[in-house]
Assembly symmetry: D2
Homo-oligomer: 328 residues x 4
């Protein structure tokens, strides 16, 4: 098959995730290796709309593989959801002789790409990049492994002081809809309890679990609170618990965007490299309207249509059961 692609644009959209830079680097260098020109769109789809496109060569992605964040910046674009916005973006791509788009991001990013592709016939490939790991079509998303490592390093530090004080700690972690980070970080740190978006826990159940932990002579008690759980924020839950068990003096940490930053882990750098490399190779093969992902140790390709309509995440029930047993 002949390579009919002259130039591509690459962009990062939605929440940033560690490893996005490593992925940009892989996209750029694989394209250049195949004699395709590359533009970086600044601030996601906004860059397409505003013609904020930067020509990238091999050296322009030197020294970024280990950096958190994204050198292309990211944003959520309201304008790209409108016909006018999409038209502007299309015009700018045409003006720059850009034939295809590689978008790195999550669900929202892919949705925009799919519509854009269907409407204007631009080829698009999606690369899953989000710390939430809540996408269909890949075992892991870029940034998730780093975010987990960052989270458990923080919790390990809180454990130091928890053990010295026999105290109770509530740690709020990211996850509006997905308890992935919360559950896995609870397992990784031996947390006593975890509140998840996917599973309801009553305040009474939580208190009972904590009291049982005290009876088992545990030194310290740590509760991981996913943002999206039903009981409330870490502050709110801590107050509810204190009201019921007065001798606890609970302390709260809210990790927030700390979890998005940091240098990407080896796992994320390899994943980012492989996905960026494969995305360009898929374009060369003529693929479009699909995403690349990791399944086991292999790269797989899923149509965006399928990726966006399938249920994206089932809480890993075996891990849930294991968590209960390992924290006895």
């Amino acid at each position: 098959m002949t390579n009919l692609i002259k130039n591509i644009a690459v962009l990062t959209s939605g929440g940033d995730a560690p490893g996005m830079n490593a992925c940009i680097r892989a996209v750029v260098r694989t394209a250049i290796f195949n004699n395709i020109g590359v533009y970086g769109a600044i601030q996601g789809y906004e860059g397409l709309i505003n013609n904020n496109l930067k020509k990238l060569d091999s050296r322009s992605v030197s020294g970024i593989i280990h950096l958190g964040g994204t050198i292309l910046k990211t944003a959520r674009s309201l304008e790209f959801k409108t016909d006018e916005g999409m038209q502007k973006a299309y015009n700018n791509l045409k003006a720059n002789e850009i034939d295809a788009l590689v978008v790195i991001g999550g669900d929202g990013t892919f949705k925009g790409a799919k519509e854009f592709s269907e409407k204007f016939g631009i080829k698009v490939i999606g690369i899953p990049g989000t710390i939430d790991n809540d996408l269909y079509g890949t075992d892991f998303t870029i940034g998730y492994d780093t975010a987990l490592n960052t989270t458990i390093e923080a919790i390990d530090k809180i454990r130091d002081t928890a053990d010295s004080h026999d105290r109770l700690f509530f740690i709020e972690v990211m996850g509006r809809d997905s308890g992935c980070i919360a559950l896995r970080s609870a397992i990784c740190t031996g947390a006593e309890a975890v509140l998840l978006p996917e599973r309801d826990t009553t305040i009474e159940e939580l208190v009972q679990e904590l009291v049982a932990g005290s009876a088992a002579k545990k030194n310290s008690r740590i509760v991981i609170v996913a943002e999206g759980n039903k009981l409330g924020s870490a502050y709110e839950v801590s107050k509810m618990v204190k009201y019921r068990v007065q001798n606890y003096d609970p302390k709260v940490t809210v990790l927030g965007h700390l979890q998005r930053g940091g240098s990407p882990s080896a796992f994320d750098r390899i994943l980012a490299g492989r996905l960026g490399f494969s995305a360009v190779n898929e374009l060369l093969k003529g693929s479009t309207n699909c995403m690349v992902g990791l399944s086991g140790n292999n790269i797989i390709v899923t149509q965006l249509n399928e990726a966006l309509t399938q249920h994206t995440f089932k809480l890993e029930n075996d891990l849930m059961e294991m968590k209960e047993i390992l924290s006895i």
Copy 2:
């Protein structure tokens, strides 16, 4: 002078701080080297009152120099503030032939030690251990350097994502009465603004500073919020700012006890070693009712009476001025 001390007890009290274990190790080994027996009191003064004393030998402090927290655990003891509590503690010391006490902690710890010493004639030496660096008689307290490093690592990570998004971040750091960690971490991370307990800032001044930063084309804006500042918590301040500048979408991180944990830095390990070593040597010289501290590169000794009555901390005005100039 003859060494009339048969046994000593060592304890950690108040908030735990990284480096306390390195200090315990130094006290234990220096005492044993000088043929003095050592007991560790578990949970600070509570351990004295409840006779929860553990005989320590050289090997019992092996493998702890790099650990956060304190193997002796710590607590705030209400009972030790009563005559009965102190009497119990004294009786237990006598029963175990313990002649002197080395206490590692902050102001409250030293106050208790001083009263106890004056009432019962037990020799005491204080070692400054607190992440707040708010004690008279030493340039640095054990744990402060590590807490600062932990704080700036966290802020560096948030900067990654801030830069990718042109966003505004509020980061709450420790410091009820002392802005030490807040000011220094602001300087270390090039934060745009800092709210301190020692200096009033109005919400209008803060907003003005942030808007000026935007005008200067800064990528991202980070505001460090010390717990004890007058405007409110990081959440409260972020809401006040958002109310005034609607296009900001501020995000909040509350570091909390994360700042207390972690492996002590080289600086804190050396400081902990020197102060623990010196505390025992002071006892050998016959000193009592004093604290050891660091002045420049030298160990100094200050009477507890003086340490507790002097003003403890003046915000470093030269650093304050420098902060303004360096964040232009």
Copy 3:
């Protein structure tokens, strides 16, 4: 099926790997949850031979999930390769009413376990724990992910100084027979060249690659040297290069056992938990003479016979190709 197992022993053998403690914890707690007693054998098979067995309860594995190394210590046992050694080990197991063995380690460990099981009818389950990731029957071994992260953190630091100096660096990483760590760390850090045990490179090829990198205006040049490559140690290779390109002033770092230590990554903690949990569950199902492993996101079971006779590792050719393209 009835659970006929009264007690099990768990041991770590061969080189230690981060995550072994998390795995021990999982084995112990899963067993206790199923009313099986657990003994820890100290120093691997030596502990069986010398009856150095420690009864473990739930609390005895508290606070170890995040620690590097192994609380059970590890050793290579020559005596266990003799009939007398195995007989002693068997006698001690019988005397302690131990019916099954969980062994955490690599090839050598599994080989000993298999022979022991065949000779004495003791049930054994193997868990792959080695930083080298060179075992058949699992995508990843416990410790590999952490070792990779440790390695790339070290190389990232060297890159700082490399960039400031336009200098050439040789970094020796672990891998006598397997280039896994070398190849992946080279990809993760954008190294200019990598010397692997599985692939011959001549000194002329290496020099050519480095000179081409200079021509491409790269700031710095880093060469990753796996221990087992054919050209020689990092020191030796650096001298050969300097002899050929005199204006380079190459510097050498030998990471050595640094790569074995450190707190296990999230990936390794989850993997260790799942494998330890599954190993005990396999014993409950009546399995023996097999190993548990990870395939994609699933736990799989492989007979030790198969695991030990299959070729263990094929250098990932797609990663090799990708490495060349991404470092243009």
Copy 4:
């Protein structure tokens, strides 16, 4: 006094050190705040000679405070030691209306600056930046604290595996002439022995120390080897020890330039900020041919003449003695 300085140049020379970027940022912003223009000379004195001077504004030093290495690059310039080289440098300074020079580096850097200043009347201020901490006129040099932290983190990791194996490790750390890093890192990690440039140890003394450690039932034995010690490299010493005590199987790590990299610690960022800030303020006051340094918690100024002729470093004997006692 009137400020007669129109422009200054800043450069980094000699070995790079973490914190140099934070210092460059402080110099640039303090100058700009005082309406002085700033040029950065690329690759130290080479940049002056080759007119490789880059105009720096406030934004050009954004986002560098936390980066290791130096954005201005560094080099050792042979040409600057010649009259011709100095003359070229002077001509370029004049052509760019540069009246003063701020140089960040070590002894060699200061020596060049002093001669240049004396010969051509250019104002110079030196800032001590080197990981070796071997300069007169300051308690600490920029980069030393970070290098120490990097070193002890590495040794802590090796300790993990050392403890699991009862093994002997030799770790080579930087220090040709100065044992600062070696001695302090030995104290910080509880190493069993340390070989220093400043103190002769025979191989027999070393072996005796290690054997005594074994008798004291220590789990593991770590020996820190400063590059410049008299017995030889870590490899050589390990072979000498193995020859004498055969049952040891010593392992070697050579940290090398790993110690130069990494994000600067809080201590180094504050120090870099204060010294850069003070250097410009000294120029404003009319000072020249001097260096700024830290004494206790204060900034002090020392004439380069004095700094270069005084003995620079005395091994801290109290720390040496303390090391012996604390590793019992």
